[in-house]
């Protein structure tokens, strides 16, 4: 069975093998059919020829025997018997067969003469069907194919009726052995088999040679493609001759050329993007630092200003905050795009992180009139970047408070062998299907006209999903309009593992889960 599997694989992987196997199989079938046909035809014509000779010989023997019998004039029993013996001997010598039988036709008046047979005769070789035919029509020669009892060879029995004076009707049977012909046929068969195998092997070899030659440029193309795919963009195919293969090679090379150009272009673009990130980072931040300090200083002294200046300083302060957040988010996204994000891996206790966030957001939850609850179950430590993970969870909680419309916000943290999950559920307006698909888009906001109470740049979830991807985790959202929304973050325990199967927390938490153990209730109605 394993051999079959090996053959199957070879079949699939190699054009050459397929061609060889196909050619060999077809040739084998053709050779086999042809051989059968040839043997069948030869066998029957051999038989025909032999039978003609047999009947001729039998005819001659019969006439000679009859004339011997007719010419004699014996009458006594003993003389008849010895006459029969001499007829037998003559027939034996005429036909050169030791297998002759002279039998008295049954159903006649009793007589004293006995059947005489050659020493080699086996009575079973003379079939009853033949005897009855000869008995019915003794004038002509009847024959039948038999298998000799002695050695199993094929043979022909010829029989004819004879008139024996003073004894009535006798039957002369001559058994001819066709064994020699059989041997000839066997020899022929062997030659055909050997020849057939030789042809099949030869065809296999020729196919291997010819097809191999033809496929060489294809193999060349495959090898060159592989080298290019592995990074060596300078590889090209050799161009020889002026046939279809040349066209293949030329087109392949021009394709490789344009690939090389494009990839080099992209690489330099990425480099430019990365340089942009660090240059812009530096250039924008320094003046912003000055503005920040100035805005804060003015804002701190606004009590002493006239109302116009005081209000201006407030707006300046607020918008400087907003600008700073936006810049930080934009730079973060640029870093993701330029593949420049670094992961500072450590053991992070997601329960601790979430607890800290819940404590920090206590005041906000009071202001929003949303009860914040947290439940941590079991060991929830993962390999990860603690500041990024905190950023993700903080964003999820902030969104839940902002869009929860005063409903309770429930957070659960739990883990299994593969991963740890943090699920943040609110019971607010929820999202439509269309909104769910776009919720992670950059700058997408649920309601653009909505007043931003908690700030936010529209990049929060985009950054969260990029941060999640860096960890090899998953960030899923479930929502039903009018019922609420649940965001579930899943992070693999060991960095590099994939999230497998169903995670430890369901995507939809039931309303007001009633559980006394490990429940930490914070914030809420004042």
């Amino acid at each position: 069975m394993r051999f079959l599997g090996w053959v199957k694989r070879l079949w699939g992987r190699s054009l050459l093998t397929r061609s060889i196997i196909t050619m060999v199989a077809c040739t084998a079938i053709a050779v086999t059919l042809g051989s059968y046909l040839m043997i069948a035809l030869t066998s029957s014509s051999l038989f025909e020829a032999r039978r003609e000779r047999v009947l001729l010989s039998a005819n001659r023997a019969a006439s000679q025997a009859q004339s011997m019998l007719s010419a004699s004039s014996v009458s006594s029993q003993a003389n008849v018997q010895s006459l029969l013996y001499s007829v037998l001997a003559t027939t034996e010598s005429v036909t050169a067969s030791q297998n002759v039988a002279l039998l008295r036709t049954p159903g006649q008046a009793d007589s004293a003469s006995l059947d005489v047979t050659s020493s080699a005769v086996n009575r079973t070789d003379i079939p009853l069907a033949l005897r009855s035919k000869v008995g019915k029509d003794p004038g002509q020669i009847w024959w039948q194919s038999i298998a000799l009892a002695e050695n199993g060879n094929p043979g022909i029995v010829a029989g004819v009726g004879l008139n024996v004076p003073s004894s009535g009707l006798h039957e002369l049977y001559i058994v001819y052995d066709l064994g020699a012909d059989q041997v000839t046929l066997r020899h022929l068969e062997w030659m055909l088999v050997v020849g057939g195998i030789a042809i099949v092997l030869l065809v296999g070899l020729i196919t291997w040679g010819v097809v191999g030659r033809v496929l060489r440029p294809v193999k060349d193309a495959a090898n060159t493609s592989e080298k290019i795919a592995h990074g060596d963009l300078t590889q090209r195919m050799r161009i020889r001759g002026n046939d279809e293969v040349t066209t293949l090679a030329t087109s392949f090379n021009s394709m490789a050329n344009s690939l090389q150009v494009k990839i080099t272009e992209l690489a330099s673009l990425t480099q430019m993007q990365q340089r942009f990130v660090s240059d812009v980072s530096h250039e924008l931040r320094t003046p912003l630092a000055t503005i920040r300090l100035a805005a804060d200083t003015i804002y701190a002294k606004r009590e002493g200003f006239d109302p116009v200046t005081a209000r201006s300083s407030e707006l300046l302060f607020d918008q400087t905050n907003r600008f700073e957040t936006l810049l930080a988010d934009l730079l973060e996204m640029s870093r993701f795009d330029a593949h420049q994000s670094e992961l500072d891996l450590m053991s992070v206790d997601l329960g601790q992180v979430t607890r800290r966030i819940v404590t920090d957001m206590h005041d906000v939850s009071v202001a929003q009139n949303s009860e914040l609850s947290l439940k941590v179950t079991g060991d929830v430590v993962v390999d990860g970047d603690s500041s990024r993970l905190e950023r993700i969870i903080r964003n999820l909680v902030a969104n839940a408070l902002e869009y929860g419309a005063g409903t309770p916000v429930e957070i659960q943290v739990a883990g299994d062998d593969n991963s740890v999950c943090v699920a943040v559920q609110d019971y607010g307006e929820g999202l439509t299907r269309a909104e769910m698909e776009r919720v992670f888009d950059r700058f997408w906001r649920k309601d653009p006209s909505r007043e931003r109470t908690l700030g936010g740049t529209g990049l929060g979830l985009s950054i969260a999903s990029e941060d999640t991807a860096l960890h090899g985790g998953r960030l899923d959202v479930w929502s039903n309009q009018g019922e609420g929304t649940c965001f579930r973050l899943a992070i693999p325990r060991t960095f590099g593992d994939k999230i497998t199967g169903s995670t430890s927390l369901p995507l939809r938490l039931p309303l007001h889960q009633d559980d006394a153990t490990g429940n930490v209730l914070l914030g809420g109605q004042a």
Partner: protein
């Protein structure tokens, strides 16, 4: 208290001076690296605020030169937050760093934390692994031979040694050694622990003085001598 501000951006340097002076500090400003080193000798500040990206003599080089002269606390100002830039600055000897932009309150808090005289430890002598720490004399000795560490590194060592069974989280160390932990970057702790290990460990790859406690932070090694 005197603070030296080294930044090539004139507006920012001035704004920082305004903020600090408002808090009662004396402030002097240098705008390039070479001048900064000379000014340092002339002014003798109690603390230095140093921008990493300086024309001429770069921020890292200035930091190394100043640290070679004295143990004056240096706080880095940096627009870049990529790890390698931060770590490079810390490894050059900076005690702390702030990334731009920052709030004035943050800046002042960090400055005060570094200037605060370190509260005297209760113990007179502390032991960790095969080291003897003379708290009053500010000396660390192995088999009688003193090891040179900066005041910050000394502080880390004494904090760990004073509570030998306790595994300190990075936040706890930031709080006790640097004087704050809110909005802090734990990379500070990592780099300074590494620098400390390079100085006091026989084999920094197999630390016996400052042990890593996986999932928590660091702990003083068991006393051996």
């Amino acid at each position: 208290m005197r603070i030296q501000v080294i930044d090539d951006d004139v507006a920012l340097a001035e704004m920082i001076s305004i903020v600090l002076r408002d808090q009662g500090f004396d402030v002097d400003v240098s705008h390039n690296g070479r001048a900064a080193v000379d000014d340092f000798d002339d002014w003798n500040p109690d603390l230095v605020l140093l921008d990493l990206m300086l024309p001429g003599l770069g921020g890292i080089a200035v930091c190394e030169r100043l640290k070679a002269k004295s143990d004056v606390p240096i706080i880095m100002l940096t627009a870049k937050t990529d790890t390698q830039d931060v770590v490079a600055g810390l490894e050059a000897g900076a005690d702390d760093y702030i990334s731009k932009p920052f709030k004035p309150a943050e800046l002042v808090a960090r400055v005060r934390a570094r200037l605060r005289s370190l509260t005297p430890q209760e113990a007179v002598r502390l032991y960790v692994a095969d080291l003897v720490i003379d708290v009053e004399a500010h000396e660390v000795k192995r088999a009688g031979k003193p090891l040179l560490v900066t005041p910050l590194e000394f502080r880390i060592l004494t904090t760990l040694a004073a509570a030998p069974a306790h595994a300190f989280t990075r936040d706890e160390l930031l709080d006790q050694v640097w004087g704050y932990s809110y909005k802090a970057d734990t990379r500070l702790v990592n780099v300074h622990i590494q620098r400390l290990r390079a100085k006091v460990e026989i084999d920094p790859e197999n630390p016996k003085v400052v042990e890593t406690v996986r999932g928590v932070g660091y702990r003083a090694g068991a006393v051996t001598s």
